[in-house]
Structures are given as C-alpha cells and as structure tokens.
C-alpha cells in the first residue's frame, strides 16, 4: 500500500493558491501518478487511463482559478478525473457496441498486447464494477485514503463510501470466485445491480 504522506488528499495538504500556474504545476507533479493509478483501476487499460488523466488535468487547469479550496486540491482533482473516466467509459461502450454491430459475422480482431498488461483477474473484475465503486477500491486499498478523504474526492457522504466499499468487495469476491471456478475460460459478463454476473 502506498501512503498518502503529507501531500495526500486530505490532512496536512499543501497550500495551493487558486489560479497560480506554479501551484498547479506542483499539484500536477504531486498527484499525477496517484490519479493515473486510480484511473487504471477504473478503466482497466493504461493507455486509456493516461489519455483521461491528461484530459482531466486540462479540465482542472481551465477551472483552476475557480477552485475554492473547500475540498483538498487532490480530492478535487480526483473528482474531475473520475468523472472524465466515467465519460470515457460511456463513450467507449457506445463505440464498442457500434463496432460489434458493424462486424457481425466477421472474426473479432486479436486483442492489443499493450492492453493486456493490466488484464489481471482483479483489474478485469474492477473494470466491470460501476466506476465510482472501482475508484473507491483503488483509493482505499492502494492509495490508502481514509473514508473521509474518499468522500471528499467523490463528493459523497462518508457512510456512502463505507457501503460502496462493502458492495464493491462483495461483487469482486463473487466475480473472482466465479472466474476461478470457471477456470478463467469463460469471460466475465457485465454485473447486474445485485452483483450477479450476467452475459
């Protein structure tokens, strides 16, 4: 687990001045890798995550002068990044659906080797979760943020974070055990709301 240190999402967060170019660059340097890790967890693909992180930082830069400091800067940044990833995921799903329709009857192209790096069982399962649940798992179990800090990042009540984490873990457990019992031969379908895999 990676500790959040003094420049974490909350606690002894460094002082940032809204609109300051130098401060934004400092925020970029201190939080880029953590935000990237979160988005890899949500999207399950490094290349897509990198694109979304860049996009998120550009969005954040454009509204940097209006950042009010009511939430720690990194939490605010995570919120922007997670929303960017959600938009990206929606767009990709629509695009994939269109591609499936277009290539009906034709063989599917082989998977891109570059995207297989993150294709561990866990990441595959994470990418099937609702994005905010996946984000909560990465923020809690990789970045080591507290529930309060995750609440600030996702702009939700702290209790919601706890229930979201519990729900995410329950789904992960089911998916992973399902995958293992199927000897990883059957692809994992999209989860329904109650966590039961359905193809």
């Amino acid at each position: 687990m990676i500790g959040i240190g003094t420049e974490g999402i909350g606690g002894a967060a460094p002082e940032y001045k809204p609109g300051s170019e130098a401060d934004f660059e400092r925020l970029y340097r201190s939080s880029y890798n953590r935000v990237l890790g979160t988005l890899i967890g949500i999207l399950g693909e490094r290349a897509a995550a990198e694109d979304c992180v860049q996009d998120a930082f550009v969005r954040a830069y454009r509204s940097w002068s209006s950042w009010r400091g009511d939430a720690p800067a990194e939490a605010w940044l995570h919120r922007i990044a997670i929303n960017t990833a959600i938009s990206h995921q929606r767009y990709e799903r629509m695009r994939e659906a269109g591609q499936v329709l277009r290539r009906l009857g034709r063989p599917a192209p082989p998977p891109d080797p570059a995207t297989l790096v993150e294709r561990s069982d866990l990441f595959r399962a994470l990418s099937k979760l609702p994005p905010k649940q996946a984000a909560a798992i990465v923020l809690r179990h990789h970045h080591g943020y507290t529930n309060r800090e995750i609440a600030a990042a996702l702009d939700i009540p702290e209790r919601t974070v706890a229930s979201r984490l519990a729900g995410a873990k329950e789904r992960l457990r089911k998916v992973l055990s399902y995958e293992r019992s199927a000897d990883s031969q059957i692809s994992v379908g999209t989860l329904s709301e109650d966590g039961v895999p359905s193809d």
Binding site: R29, G37, L122, H141
Partner: protein, 170 residues
C-alpha cells in the same frame, strides 16, 4: 484486515506499484483557448473586424472633417490662427462698448458670420475660377461683350459679396 483485503492490495500494488514511481510527463500549459480564441475566432472575429473597421472609418472622417473645418474658417490648419482672430475681436468688441451697454455677443457673432461668409465665398470663387478657365479654353470669342458676367466672376474670385445670395451660385 481480511485475507481478501490483503489479496486486493497485493494485486493492486503489483500492477499499480510501478505506476507510482514512473516518470511524470512534463506539464504543458494548454494553449489559451479562452478569451483570445473568442476574439480571434468565429463570430467574434467577424464582429471584431467590423468594429475595428467602423472605428477606423469614423476616426479618419473625424480627422478629415476637423482639418477641413479648421482650414476653411481660419485659412490655416493651425487652430491658433482662428483663435487669435476671435480673441482680438472680443477685445475690440469690449473696447467698443459704451457705458451702460452690456454684452458683446452680437458683435462677436457678426464677426464670426462675416468670416464664415468670406470663407464660403472664397470656396465658391475657387469653383467659379475653375469653371471660368475651362470656358476660356473652349472658345475665345464667347465671353466678349458680356461685361456683367465677367465682373461677377471677378467679384467671386476676390470673395466679395455679390447681389446674388451665395447659396444660389452653386
């Protein structure tokens, strides 16, 4: 922490650990797409171009008209000339005031009117001179025996008042 939690963390760390220590790409400030883009692009550009053209035309016309007005009144582009004449006239009018008389407005405005007529006549005379020279070149004998016409033309050249009101000359 449960065994499952530990398993999640190990797996996350295995995949995301290298990400945490990787080199961060250099931050490049996005190209300014805000104010300048609105001004220089699309509808903004069209409106800005029209506004600039409008300002330029108005400024040019104002400068030209100002200069012409000034020159016609004082006979010079220097505004001090006409100003000096008016100052002198004011002094003259004040001196001409007799005891118990008030106001020099009529005296000064009469001077201004006289000056305006003079300048106006001089403009018309210059037009007449142009016409006269054109007529002369057309035929020599045409103007002979028409003394009254010639005298009128001469009056116009010197800017003197004629029997005909200036407005009907043109």
């Amino acid at each position: 922490m449960s065994e499952f939690d530990s398993e999640i963390e190990r797996e996350l760390n295995r995949i995301l650990g290298p990400v945490d220590t990787q080199t961060i790409p250099v931050w490049r400030t996005p190209a300014s797409g805000g104010f300048m883009k609105r001004i220089l692009g699309g509808t903004g550009a069209a409106v800005a171009a029209k506004l600039l053209t409008g300002f330029a035309v108005v400024a040019f016309a104002a400068a030209g008209a100002g200069g012409a007005m000034e020159a016609s009144l004082s006979g010079s582009l220097n505004p001090a000339d006409w100003g000096q004449q008016v100052t002198q006239q004011v002094a003259t009018c004040k001196a001409a005031l007799t005891a118990g008389q008030h106001g020099i407005g009529q005296c000064v405005s009469a001077f201004a009117k006289q000056h305006g007529d003079l300048v106006s006549d001089s403009h018309q005379a210059s037009n007449a001179r142009d016409n006269h020279s054109n007529n002369g070149s057309n035929g020599k004998g045409k103007g002979k025996g028409n003394g009254s016409d010639n005298s009128q033309a001469g009056d116009r050249i010197h800017g003197r008042p004629t029997t005909v009101p200036p407005s009907t000359h043109s």
